[in-house]
């Protein structure tokens, strides 16, 4: 942070931001007064702006945002040192996963099993979060070997290559027939994976499974109501990363040892970022923050 207005409050201290405070920011610029915001659901703001979408983004040396979207990274300094802003850049995608599996999915009770379908940044973050949440078995299904290996580094107990292995049999085998309490659909091809999720739920002995849909997809999902009736299961859709205390909890998790920087495959310089995304956004902002790219 290089500049802060007089009303730019740091939630770490409930005092004005000090110059030099390292921060990360939410990407969703929620209004705070529409009906969903007033009820505590800023991810569904009726007047949403998004950094890098409809307002200028963070591929820039400086970006100006309202202080209410900024969260201090101070507690990451000791553990991450000169990787501080690399860690900070991962708070947002990790918060998307956290919102999906913890806030919307309801989390798990320690000792439950979970299955993550898709090993992109959100799926990988979900692996780390759920292993830290006490999952007995975290299983990732993902075609890319690189991503499967990352999942193992982040705590996955088992990984499945769905192009070569039978997903259903593998999950039932790894869980001694119990199945999983939580499934995360993070592939973007639900029409392909959904019937397999349902088959696990149907054949597994565990009940009460929750399927969280976090990846966006146009395809219709062929839902079998009876599976969710007989197995006492549920489905939730997840969107966003704001609110619900998610950002500060993700930062605290990272501070206490959940190292998401493992998923960084490459860092680029500002010069490598196309010129057209370098402009600063201009209005309704009180704080300038220095960003590394995500």
């Amino acid at each position: 942070m290089v500049e802060a207005g007089p009303e730019a409050i740091n939630r770490r201290t409930n005092r004005r931001f000090e110059i030099g405070e390292p921060v990360c920011v939410e990407e969703m610029l929620w209004c705070g007064h529409c009906r969903p915001c007033a009820e505590g659901f800023p991810n569904h703001c009726e007047n949403l702006n998004e950094l890098g979408f409809n307002v200028d983004g963070a591929f820039a040396e400086y970006v100006k945002v309202d202080a209410k979207y900024a969260w201090s990274l101070r507690e990451l300094e000791d553990r991450y040192g000169d990787r501080l802003f690399l860690a900070g850049s991962l708070v947002e995608p990790t918060s998307v996963a956290y919102n999906a599996v913890i806030v919307r999915g309801g989390g798990i009770r320690p000792g439950d099993n979970v299955v993550i379908l898709g090993g992109g940044p959100i799926g990988l973050a979900a692996v780390a979060i759920l292993k830290h949440a006490g999952a007995a078995k975290v299983i990732l299904s993902e075609p890319s070997e690189t991503r499967r290996n990352l999942a193992i580094e982040l705590g996955a107990d088992h990984v499945i290559d769905p192009t070569k292995e039978n997903f259903v049999e593998a999950v039932l085998d790894y869980t001694n027939g119990l199945g999983a309490k939580l499934f995360l659909e993070a592939t973007g091809v639900p029409q392909i994976v959904w019937p397999q999720i349902e088959e696990v739920i149907w054949r597994a002995r565990g009940i009460n499974a929750t399927v969280v849909i976090v990846a966006r997809a146009d395809a219709k999902i062929p839902l079998t109501g009876e599976v969710f009736q007989v197995r006492r299961a549920q489905i939730v859709g997840s969107q966003g990363h704001s609110g619900h205390g998610t950002f500060p909890r993700v930062i605290s998790l990272m501070a206490s040892g959940m190292d998401m920087t493992k998923i960084i495959s490459k860092t680029v310089t500002m010069e490598e970022i196309p010129e057209y995304i370098k402009r600063l956004q201009t209005d309704k902002s009180l704080v300038k923050v220095t960003m590394v790219n995500e």
Copy 2:
């Protein structure tokens, strides 16, 4: 109740059942020791027997069941008088609806709107329960005029004939564009009504809707993940009526004024019931109960 074994405990008193205690019984004979039962989910018992399905049923003068499935109707006596057993016969189907909208659907907060699709016994019971739970607007969609009229008697604020009216526009109109917190799929034709439910959720300004699937159907449901993501919505499957304190709460609701006997369209004598269902069941039972047919 005409006979009770020495270990047949009346949960109303935690003492042995007395002869003459009016009771109703659950139809699901859960084992009480399998994994789901031990976790508190008897509707998903792994060793389930069902009265009138795989064991002899209640179209009989006497039926013998374990006391743990019987619930006293004593508190209904004052209000229902000689209609006591008619009221009692409705506890089970009302409990199916209660399990769907309250236990599985999570209920509502007073002031929320709800939409019931399908006006059979379960849908009608849901109308009554949710009106008693403080729904601001209870809306029923049902082609049969008779059933729509019953819904109004049970407390529905608005009824829709989906064969003549535009369901989506009607719901949005009746709710001032807010939509509903809870939808109950009780039609058995989800492939038809589902796209309309999704359109209401998508266009309505209220978020956090829950769709409860209670009717059984073979058809695949064409689920649009994005609707449930953007509108923060969820889907749950519901099965059964046992456990979770449902039977006694339904009885207390009836005692305090929720009169379900309005949905009884006809009563028949025992002679009119086919001979083959009159046999008594014979094993694992400690209590004999007098039943009216449901």
Copy 3:
């Protein structure tokens, strides 16, 4: 509403407020960006202002507040007519009760029993809300006969004069020994009523009771841990009325028939209000609203 700024959005329409829209406003002026606000808990805002406490209040012909604290009363017009603003003036105290029993207390399942201790405005509103939420038995304990009679008008099934009756025996008697799922401490003398609440919980057969503390009191409460262990009970403190969708739900409840105007004992003219509270507040406000006194 007599004047509205260009960014004063009406949450009923998500468009700018129109002149003439009848509204009521929250009394808690939450900041929207502190840590509790950002997590969805505006009742615990770290930068709270309060209308009529530290900022000028609403005993005035006009009051200027930010639009985000205002809620449309449009849906009350049909039912309340020229009593519209009387009804509107009761949204705030009713929301305090709603926050206590529904948001903080977790509400009830239809068919549960509840006990309200204290028949002031909050206790009386709780009676009405919980009866509308499907309580089988709503019991009020209150020394004043006037207030007990109001409680009966608002839906109480039983009232107790604790100065003449045995509270514990009465509750156990009215509930057939089951006790209550929810107790609301709204007396302000917890040191007196608490031992009686605990005795009911201890002796009743129902478990899982929740005691909500809503009245402020300096006295220490003599808590017996064992009662809450053996009877699986809990205690929550409640403060405020903002957030959580409470105001709009209370308005919808009033629109659908919960008539709180019954508790109005007297209306006064503006001239009767002391001169010193008539000044308008002056800053950080975008909307002028016409208020009746509460």
Copy 4:
């Protein structure tokens, strides 16, 4: 297991128990049909028997119990080898802690802080469970150095000697002023520690704290209602270890690495156990199990 009746079902397989299956058993012999049991709350069974209390206990070569109280330890075999039954003997006390902090306390969201007061077996198990549940900071307060060291081995981030350090300042310091989401009262001297818990809650910036009372104590607790109102906090009482899927989840947690055998300070032979507790219990039992002492 050395003998199993024809109806003794192993919940691991939903088939009859095989001779040789290693098991542990619940100590609470719940009836399964009383009102609390039928609602899913066996820890509050109205007809409870307890192994080693009112029925003969497990300080014996063989003990006969109904199969519904037995849980397979098969999944612990690989990790624990010849320490299998030592691990198994810890499932019960760990389940008491699990019931307290996860089932009754509602668990935490990963990244929350927790404070455990008292480092006996329950407090130590809570340390391990909550660290596995993703607590950012697990803080234990306990006078005994031996127990504080065990807590560190089980995952505590900070330990406090309340006889030498200022508990309140230490907790606020370790949590950067945020305080804790969950406090476990496991000391048995609540009259001493309660005011300190309240002071942390009052001064900390985090809201929504839950205090779980698990230790039994006769002393009245001096509860300050305002603390729980202003800080949006709650109190729950906890009793027992049965139901809610607790035993199997604890076993799965142990299988996935939560090694509770670290708290075993001494093992004794059967001969060392007083003669009078060796008798076998005799009735209502279907299964014989081999036990190590707890």
